[in-house]
């Protein structure tokens, strides 16, 4: 966070030292600082300062310190807890879908001997990742509308007669989870596939010689060895899921208000800033979400075991 200060300090120290010619280390240190500085400025401007400014806004009102008043106000907002519930249910459904299906599909794809088939499957799963944001939701508007949907028979079999029925409150968390799964699962399947490739063939062979079947091998060897990556997926998806915004926003616009403008927490924070002109309340909600994301991220960087090099 204080790399700029540090670099200034380094420069100062360098000046104080007796000059013994330009040592290689010092030349390297100088170019290191020079190269890292522009990025560090961006890190401060768009990573750290926004967070600090949100903290400032969240604890003040018209510039005066008000303690936790803004937080209490948003917690008491009748829309806040329902939004927490919506996001929570969505995350649970989504994470279950992700873990069960991504792990299953990755192991199945990995078990396929035919290279072209396995490669094609991974490619097909991965392609929807090109669509994110508004465009994937836009496509799903069509898929979910029984009048034009390519799978209207399936929608009708599920008892969905209209688009509004498809995004009914009882179905919405599942619908949002399916959209998110459609967009993101392929990337994770590819990552899990990579993790499976790293498992030593000898271990699997030894298990097979001992009479373990494919299910047993998956359960007792492959899944335990994929643990770190599964944890990575769960934590990243959890953090991403709390941020839910574009899907319910576009659905709200398309569903004639069946999906609320205040369905998710980020939508609520948006309403505070844009409809109520209450930047302090908006900052308070954003800060709650940011705190969750930062906590998960810090936990994972230090405990996740994927970034030991750092």
């Amino acid at each position: 966070m204080s790399t700029i200060d540090n670099s200034a300090a380094t420069a100062a120290v360098a000046l104080e030292r007796p000059k013994k010619g330009m040592s290689v280390e010092r030349a390297q240190g100088r170019i290191g600082v020079l190269f890292a500085t522009p990025y560090t400025l961006f890190l401060i401007a768009f990573g750290i300062l926004p967070a600090l400014y949100a903290i400032y806004l969240a604890f003040t009102k018209k510039g005066a310190f008000v303690g936790f008043d803004n937080f209490l106000k948003v917690f008491k907002d009748y829309r806040f807890w329902p939004a927490v519930e919506h996001v929570g249910i969505f995350i649970i459904v989504w994470l279950v879908l992700l873990v069960v299906l991504v792990v299953t599909l990755a192991i199945l794809v990995h078990s396929i001997g035919l290279r072209w088939f396995s490669g094609t499957m991974r490619f097909v799963y991965y392609i929807p990742g090109a669509l994110a944001g508004a465009s994937s939701v836009m496509l799903w508007l069509f898929v979910l509308d029984p009048t034009v949907s390519p799978v209207s028979w399936l929608l009708q079999a599920l008892g969905i007669e209209s688009f509004v029925g498809a995004v009914d409150a009882s179905r919405l968390p599942v619908v949002l989870a399916v959209i998110a799964f459609w967009t993101g699962a392929g990337g994770w399947i590819v990552i899990m596939y990579g993790a499976l490739n790293n498992i030593s063939k000898d271990v699997i062979e030894a298990a097979r010689v001992d009479g373990a079947g494919p299910v047993r091998i998956a359960w007792s060897i492959q899944i335990p060895l994929m643990r770190k990556w599964i944890a990575y997926m769960v934590i990243m998806s959890f953090a991403g899921g709390t941020q839910l915004f574009v899907e319910p926003r576009v659905l709200a616009q398309a569903s004639r208000g069946v999906v609320g403008q205040d369905y998710s927490l980020n939508q609520l924070a948006f309403l505070y800033a844009f409809k109520q002109n209450d930047f302090n309340g908006s900052a308070a909600i954003s800060l709650v979400l940011l705190a969750v994301a930062v906590a998960l991220s810090i936990y994972f960087v230090f405990k996740g075991g994927l970034f030991e090099r750092a």
Partner: protein, 304 residues
């Protein structure tokens, strides 16, 4: 779960027991069902713009329309508010390309510095980069919006370009790349030959870093192209990029907004065409650069 394992690869189908054969067939079936799940919506999107709304409602979903209809859908989309869609696409190109250039100019040297040089605060910078990299970018959107509105940058293209250019994942990828793929000895040898630090970077490191430049470029471009939330709050109206514009179009589709009183309306087929246009650049990048992207995603955390 009941499919045989990769080492059965060698076994021929006829050597399998009936149970194993069934398990294998079931596994393949699951894979194909999911392949359909992932690909059917996209196929439909490719076909929809060739039909009229009436055909969309009445005909079989995968029946092809015709070229004439495609052209008339194209016409109606292009004439919507005087070709507003091109303004949006142009905005997207401008924001993403500008951000791409800045991202590469700051991330590659920063990743190099973190991997190949020693300076005070290096460790701290690396840890902070990791932490910020794992935070979903949407988590910082409203704080960035609040900050930018405090400095009166809202509505200025910089309000998208600058935040788009901050890309810690790119720095991390570059860092991983230089620390694994480029040997320090090589750089030391160049130094012994009298090369300055700047020359070492420009003449030795840069030519070796083409793969990572491509990788960071792809991720940055596709991520920014698809970004909706940030430009939605910082760049409204005619300055919006296509993702925001697409959602804007939606409010002119009577099928989804029967109460809409706008004079110009957009048909469902035209909306499908707009969606296709909006994803086309990223889809093309995905199709042609799949290998790069895939290797980059797995490189994100490997430490072998």
């Amino acid at each position: 779960m009941s499919a045989p394992n990769s080492e059965i690869v060698g076994t021929r189908m006829r050597d399998l027991t009936p149970g194993a054969w069934l398990g294998r067939a079931f596994g393949v079936l699951i894979l194909i069902v999911f392949a359909l799940f992932f690909v059917v919506p996209l196929l439909w999107l490719l076909i929809a713009p060739t039909k009229t709304d009436r055909q969309l409602l009445l005909e079989a979903p995968f029946a092809l329309g015709d070229i004439g209809t495609l052209l008339s859908n194209w016409q109606s989309l292009m004439t919507f508010q005087g070709g507003l869609i091109w303004t949006w696409i142009g905005n997207s190109v401008f924001y993403c390309v500008a951000a791409l250039v800045i991202t590469l100019c700051i991330s590659i040297p920063a990743g190099y510095a973190l991997a190949m040089t020693e300076f005070r605060g290096r460790k701290l910078l690396l840890v902070v980069t990791l932490i910020v990299m794992l935070i979903p970018s949407t988590a910082l959107v409203l704080p960035i919006f609040l900050e930018l509105s405090a400095v009166r940058l809202i509505g200025n293209p910089l309000s998208a370009i600058l935040p788009f250019s901050f890309y810690p994942f790119g720095v991390y990828l570059t860092y991983i790349y230089f620390s694994t793929a480029v040997s320090r000895d090589l750089l030391s040898a160049a130094r012994l030959d009298g090369a300055s630090e700047w020359q070492v970077f420009m003449k030795i490191a840069m030519p070796l870093s083409t793969p990572v430049i491509a990788l960071v470029g792809f991720f940055s471009f596709t991520g920014n192209w698809n970004n909706y939330f940030l430009p939605y709050v910082t760049l409204p109206g005619r300055k919006a990029p296509i993702q925001v514009g697409l959602a804007e179009l939606l409010s002119n589709v009577p099928a989804f907004n029967p109460t809409n009183a706008a004079s110009t309306t957009i048909t469902l087929s035209a909306l499908a065409l707009a969606t296709l246009l909006a994803i086309a650049p990223v889809l093309l990048v995905f199709l042609f650069a799949q290998r790069y992207l895939v290797s980059g995603m797995t490189a994100g955390g490997t430490k072998e």
